[in-house]
């Protein structure tokens, strides 16, 4: 999620100064994605440049500069609420990359990698569950401020994500067991890469022998 849209959404309610934007953002998301003030001001400067926010004519009584939304900024927020979040772009997930490399790197104890991760994720899941119990007690006993509800929803989302990771790790483990039982073949991808490499070198040698100036023989 971009910080930009978060700030715009907050400013759609009322004018705010930078530090206030930061604390509002954190209060509503339970401090799960901390922002630093510098980040807030950089983003505000960019939004101002793009004509989506503007500074109030007067500073508040304590001399802080308040920012408000311009019509263009309001349009941007409205569009955000209406359109789905883009899921086409695959986020770079360290665990997925780690396991993809682990299964293709000789000498890595992949089941151990899976088990270690699952233990850690389960611990994380347990801690999140405790947070959730606290959050739901808080929400039940509160005067119904929506920040408590927002925090509860954030924690529950993290719980679902952690659970999904554990399920995927279970699946990886089962898949590895099936693969281990299968008769082995030569590792095709390495062969293919070696062949491609040889081809490239041959082509490079050939082009060096001729007088062509083409340097980018590779695809």
């Amino acid at each position: 999620m971009s910080v930009k849209l978060g700030l715009l959404a907050l400013l759609a309610e009322q004018s705010m100064y930078g530090a206030q934007l930061r604390s509002e953002f954190e209060a509503r998301t339970g401090g799960t994605w901390p922002l630093n003030v510098g980040q807030v001001y950089t983003t505000l400067a960019r939004l101002e440049r793009d004509g989506m926010v503007a500074q109030d004519a007067q500073a508040d009584e304590e001399g802080r500069i308040l920012y408000h939304l311009t019509p263009l900024g309001l349009e941007e927020v409205t569009t955000w609420w209406r359109t789905p979040v883009d899921r086409d772009e695959t986020p770079r997930d360290e665990l997925v990359i780690k396991l993809a490399l682990a299964v293709t790197t000789p000498g890595v104890d992949v089941p151990a990698v899976v088990q270690t991760q699952r233990t850690a994720t389960l611990r994380h899941l347990r801690d999140l569950t405790r947070l959730k119990v606290q959050a739901s007690d808080q929400q039940a006993s509160s005067d119904g401020t929506s920040n408590d509800l927002a925090w509860l929803l954030v924690v529950e989302n993290l719980i679902f994500a952690a659970e999904s990771e554990v399920r995927w790790l279970d699946h990886v483990e089962a898949r590895l067991a099936t693969e281990a039982a299968r008769p082995k073949r030569a590792v095709a991808s390495t062969d293919a890469a070696a062949a491609e490499d040889a081809e490239y070198r041959t082509a490079a040698a050939r082009s060096a022998n001729t007088t062509t100036t083409s340097q980018g023989a590779r695809k």
């Binding site: 389960l122 899941l125 347990r126 801690d127 569950t129 405790r130 119990v133 719980i159």
Partner: protein
């Protein structure tokens, strides 16, 4: 640290003999302390249910020891075992297993009455625990007039009635929707926080997350745990609960 309520030492359980022998458990050790909920996870056939049955005296270990509050289960005779199950260990099953012709209060007090307690005393104990698990108003209702979540709360009450301090739960939320299941786990968690010891078999990570520790079984062996009892305790203090 206080003594464990459930103390399992290097237990094996083998079905059959010789070449066809099946090793359901191969040297498992596990302690569950008062106030602790421990989850057992693992693939099908890993030995989870065998472990639970041994812990409750429903099955006997081939070797090793199972101690409940200091008494070795393997050394008990049939009568003593029956008494152990009525007085000191409670079971919670996926399909509740309440007796349909008895009310909630009667279901809960049955084990106590079978063990010689007077009906009056048994009912008083039943009402007490039904109140604690939040279903006091269901005392005179029959199981077919209760929702799944209510039946499971009654089953937890039955498992913990009297001075029983060890509850063994086998997929207790398996037949419930996610919110109801969570309510049931919360009751179990609260009972453990109040001093009971719980062993929870589950294949759902989200449910195991209610436990202080998770023990993984594979092919009858503990392959990993998410920490020691001491560590679980520190975390509990650390999280302010």
């Amino acid at each position: 640290m206080t003594a464990p309520i459930l103390h399992i030492v290097d237990v094996t359980r083998t079905h059959g003999e010789g070449e066809t022998a099946v090793h359901a458990l191969r040297g498992v050790s596990l302690d569950v302390f008062p106030g602790e909920l421990v989850a057992v996870m693992g693939p099908s056939g890993s030995g989870k249910s065998t472990l639970l049955n041994l812990a409750g005296g429903l099955d006997k270990a081939t070797s090793g020891q199972v101690l409940i509050e200091g008494d070795e289960v393997g050394a008990l005779g049939a009568n003593q075992l029956a008494s152990l199950r009525r007085r000191r260990v409670g079971f919670v099953f996926q399909d509740f297993n309440l007796i349909p012709s008895l009310t909630a209060a009667e279901n809960v007090s049955l084990p106590l009455e079978l063990d010689g307690m007077s009906v009056k005393e048994g009912r008083r104990a039943a009402h007490e625990i039904l109140e604690i698990v939040g279903v006091a108003e269901l005392a005179d209702r029959y199981p077919d007039k209760m929702s799944g979540g209510q039946q499971q709360r009654v089953a937890i009450a039955r498992a913990l009635v009297g001075d029983r301090r060890l509850v063994l739960a086998d997929e207790p939320t398996g037949a419930l929707d996610s919110t109801t299941g969570e309510g049931v786990l919360r009751v179990l968690r609260d009972r453990c926080n109040a001093g009971a010891a719980g062993l929870l078999v589950t294949h759902e990570a989200r449910h195991a997350a209610w436990a202080d520790r998770v023990v993984f079984l594979r092919d009858g062996v503990v392959v990993d745990t998410t920490g020691s009892p001491e560590e679980a305790e520190t975390l509990l203090v650390g999280s302010g609960s």
